[in-house]
Symmetry: C2
Subunit: 674 residues, 2 copies
């Protein structure tokens, strides 16, 4: 090894524990120092502290092949403390991921580079999920491990057999979602999930003792995890711990690694000052000296570079063997089809049959019930679908015949009881979908989209087709009252870029919404569904998915238009009722059903203009008025809510809050001057 | 006791453990059955299972005086599993809270009643906080306990000495926020916080074994709690456990009570079917029989009613003694002033002085820095203020000289390290403010308002003046990238009814925003603050708080108006720059600074019309365009974001996303035809 002796005796002592691992880890530390200094911003502390462990992991344990980053049976590696992104980028560069060039490292945190401040899914290969919002990496990894087990159960361990590795810090464990993930993983005994905890005793505000003093290993044990502790700078101890974690197959594993943040920096190691700001030129030089690293910035000596590239190629033989098994297996073609993300052949027919059945026998039903009907019809045709609920199965109606096997500790199933853990569920669903081979959907009440909100945002940011089934979508839920009645939620979700919000009006639109959601694997969909019954308004048979247009004229009374009523979901029926009355008064009225603003905006300008018309418009939605001025002149033209709901039976609420045909009629008379 | 012998021998056995407690608890059970049946909706299971424990608590431990529900030194009781609301309403009725009449109980979950489906703060006395969204009751209670200790530290234990009691179920412990609260309470050793856990092994989806198998007592122990377990239907055991919990002063206490959900119902006890639906007439009758309860619906026999009323009056002597101590204490007047919620005398002068200082020496500063300056100036004048951050103190700049004593396990201080627990922080701040005597503010990044969102909603729903300090409020934060850059957040927060969102443009507006937030004790305020510097645009001395108008003309170029530029926060300076250029071209331009949409909407129509003008308008905000059509004709008139941000230095981001004077100028030329 070409390593100079570390100048700092404490560091030298650590280096002596496993000199080769230490030298390899120094490559990560050096690149981190250099990239953060070049960007003049970033987080050097965690990568420097976790470099030894990451080296052991990539060198001896992680199953991957840098030349084939999309190999489906690779281990997944999730850096949950995403601010440590330079750790990941260094590893990807060193092991030879083609897209992670030295130029990318040099351009850390710059416009157009794939080396964003936090790892962004879709930018660089080897970034399995977007991390940065703390706790979510872990929860997403739980979803990946759930997917692996489900697919292994279906296709066999010879084709699906990989682990999910997570690195995380204190922040991920302070965030509540961390506990949701820990609890669920322990409950389901996800034995192939292994967490490396960077226990560096430092958070941004100073020592963790400011806010964090619990016994982490004991907490994990209480949740059914296999727990080990070790020195995070001792390559051999880390190796043994990882080996033991792999051997434990019935429980997820925690390895609590005692580390020194900013390891190597003479003046800043072990201090929160190294967490989130560059070492700078002088301290960088001192650190190189302390570590025994005599190379220029961004220079990795040939022998270490070669060794890292060997590590990157370590999995090639495994991958080839897997490919051979896949080719030879009777289940190979099916798995390949599944992993392609394409829908199975019978899917279109299932949609058509379900559609025809609705037209043949129109049904009055809550749209949550319509959702259940759609799921009953479609899930048998899409074995990739895996459902669940945050402990509201009987309310969300997410469980259907084809998705009726419970996912338990003993056996993977198609239905996951996520518990009262909306955020954990949402992030796990992202992980399930990121993994590939499954299409995850899950339910809760729309109001509790708040709890899951940042994971919904990440679905959109990553471009992952997670399907959110959000029932009890308005004051229409009645007696449970304002804490359970969404008011601002539709607006707040429509405000998220890249999310498709669908609020179907009846059984047909609900089926169409599901069809959209299932097909769209790169955009998340959120279905807002009612507790209360609505009539089937779409009764005229036809094969076109009108919901996919976002909005369309569902009723036309008279010739031309005196007024256009735009409504969504359960309020479309109310708008139709009002329109009938207005028509009886001689007005020409169009009722536009607008199940999705985003899909409507994606239509061409002519269609949009034609649909909205030039007559005065009134919007009807049992929700806050915020945002509706996109389509109507003023918020006075919105028949909706101005404040929170209340606890009372539904009819009384609609009456008291004035979301009635009478209110629509009155406004229509006013705006038209009729 | 007039109790018939319970028909069910298992129930009789439980009753024998403490017959009197059992009889009193049956009053709760009976009222619950009757009210839920009358409403034909609601949750009977949990109140029936927790009735025995609640009876012991109110009978022997809770310090309260039903005739004086606002007694400041009362114990706080928080029903975190709010769906069990009939437990609380029954207790309030039975103990003689004046407003909780039998009529209210009969009108459970009806329009206009104070007996909402979930307990709503401000409806009935004795409801200390709104609960229902699970986990938040516990986290809010942590805030109450923090407030108690802070006030006891300041005013002495003879004037402030009360406990915070929480009842909760599995859901509260599955939600991540529950763990955030547990961890923080254990860390700070909140010895006067006592949690009664309704361990009934049932959640909505079935037995808890579907999703929940961890060792709860062990988890609490790992977090530094004092832990006991007991039979939740054994009055004497419960009494002993509560006594022991009170005796433990260095740690918060958990009492894990094994209970039977729907206790007493022969066919539905112990099953999830009793969680959320009425027993109905027949099962209700069978339950009465099984419990040995022979009274008509809504009838409480006189002797039991009398005993309950005695319980309600039990604290009267304590209260009187407290009042005497308060009157006699040298600190009495100060405490009374503090609890009044009125700002101290010196406050106005502090605001004026800070304002004058800014006009005397204008400063270019990030608005987060301006916020720190405002806090430096105002916190010495408002000793009630207690600050904190979710581990981003150095970024949020929430810690200032007067608020520089750390709140630790040993000593309460004015600064709380909430840890990386945004949701727990927000709920705790609600609890601090609900408690009275303190004004809590706390910081995180604006993007992480997502994590805390439902607690922000509850601040608004309850009408509690929690102050959210949300820095790094746009792509202007730069390199940390899209996971850290809020885009949809301003819109999504503006959509929440009853929340005042403030995005100040400079040091003066930031001071004004703080003044608004501090004064407004019944409306939550959220300050969106920048990482990057902005010039001080308000340089003309004046004492009027213009921010309080929500929007105002900050610059006028030329006579009349060809175009109005509306901007918020850091973009006001960009709009001014554009306006100067447009003015140079001969256009008449008004620049409207709009720090708060909500405050602007509260102005009279004339002022609003005058401010917005009739000329074409352009809005400028480095955020999503959603919602801006309230003020401009179309989203094309918004200079803002259409998608997520990116990781790069700030100047590059503003350039790439087109939030520039040039873009404003181009649009202005287009809309004015100049």
């Amino acid at each position: 090894m070409p390593l100079d002796t570390p100048k700092d005796p404490a560091i030298a002592a650590k280096a002596d524990l496993d000199p080769q691992n230490f030298a390899l880890a120094n490559c990560i530390r050096a690149l981190t120092i250099d990239a953060v200094n070049a960007a003049n911003s970033g987080h050097p502390g965690a990568p420097m502290g976790m470099a030894d462990a990451a080296t052991v992991l990539f060198r001896n344990h992680l199953k991957f092949d840098a030349a084939n980053p999309d190999w489906p049976d690779r281990d997944r590696f999730v850096l949950s403390n995403g601010h440590a992104s330079m750790l990941l980028y260094s590893l990807l560069h060193l092991t030879g991921y083609q897209d992670m060039t030295l130029d990318q490292i040099r351009n850390f945190r710059q416009w157009g580079a794939i080396t964003a401040g936090h790892p962004e899914y879709g930018h660089a290969k080897g970034v399995e999920t977007t991390t940065g919002p703390l706790g979510q990496g872990l929860a997403t990894a739980v979803g990946m491990a759930l997917a692996e087990r489900a697919l292994a159960g279906e296709f066999g361990g010879d084709l699906v057999d990989h682990r999910t590795w997570v690195m995380l810090g204190d922040g991920c464990l302070q965030e509540g979602i961390g506990q949701e993930a820990i609890s669920l993983a322990g409950h389901l005994g996800l034995g192939k999930l292994i967490v490396l905890y960077d226990d560096n005793s430092i958070t941004i505000d100073g020592p963790t003792s400011v806010s964090f003093s619990e016994d982490i290993p004991a907490r994990f044990k209480a949740c059914g995890w296999h727990v080990q502790s070790c020195d995070g700078h001792d390559g051999r101890a880390l190796d043994a711990a990882m080996e033991a974690a792999k051997a434990e197959t019935g429980k997820p594993s925690l390895i609590a690694m005692k580390t020194i943040i900013g390891f190597g920096s003479p003046n800043r190691a072990g201090s929160y000052s190294v967490h989130g700001s560059p070492l700078g030129k002088d301290e960088g030089a001192l650190t190189r000296e302390a570590l025994g690293w005599s190379h220029e910035a961004f220079v990795i000596p040939d022998d270490l570079a070669a060794e890292w590239r060997e590590i990157g190629a370590r999995g090639a033989a495994d991958r080839e063997a897997w490919e051979a098994r896949l080719a030879a297996s009777p289940k190979g073609a099916a798995l390949t089809q599944r992993l392609s993300g394409d829908l199975p052949e019978g899917y279109d027919a299932a949609v058509s049959a379900a559609r025809d059945a609705l037209f043949a026998a129109p049904k009055k039903a809550a749209t949550r019930k319509a959702s259940q009907m759609a799921l009953e019809a479609l899930t048998p045709a899409v074995p990739a679908m895996i459902g669940g609920s945050a402990d509201l199965t009987g309310s969300n109606l997410t469980r259907v015949k084809a998705v009726d096997t419970q996912y338990t500790r003993e056996t993977p199933g198609r239905y996951i009881g996520y518990g009262v853990r909306e955020f954990g569920m949402a992030a796990a669903m992202n992980g399930l979908n990121l993994h590939g081979g499954v299409i995850a959907y899950g339910g809760t009440f729309l109001v509790f989209s708040d709890y899951a909100r940042n994971a919904i945002r990440l679905s959109a940011l990553m471009g992952v087709g997670t399907i959110y089934v959000m029932t009890h979508d308005s004051i229409g839920l009645g007696e449970d009252g304002p804490t359970h009645q969404p008011v601002e939620h539709l607006a707040s979700l429509r405000a998220i870029p890249g999310l498709t919000v669908l609020r179907p009006a009846d059984t047909v639109e609900t089926l169409e919404a599901w069809d959209i959601a299932i097909r769209n694997r790169t955009v998340p969909s959120l279905l807002a569904l009612s507790r209360q019954d609505v009539p089937q308004l779409r009764t005229e048979a036809g094969s076109e998915n009108l919901t996919a247009k976002g909005a369309y004229v569902i009723r036309q009374f008279g010739e031309g238009r005196d007024v256009t009523l735009i409504a969504t979901g359960t309020e479309v029926a109310i708008a139709v009722e009002a329109a009938e009355a207005l028509a009886a008064e001689g007005m020409a009225v169009a009722v536009v059903s607008m199940p999705s603003w985003e899909l409507f905006e994606a239509q061409d300008a002519d269609y949009r203009a034609l649909t909205l018309g030039t007559a005065p418009r009134i919007a009807v939605e049992a929700a806050g008025k915020f945002g509706w001025t996109r389509y109507v002149a003023t918020e006075d033209d919105v028949i909706g809510m101005t404040g929170f709901g209340a606890s009372a039976p539904i009819d009384r609420l609609y009456q008291e809050f004035g979301i009635t045909p009478e209110a629509i009629i009155a406004r229509a008379r006013l705006v038209t001057g009729h």
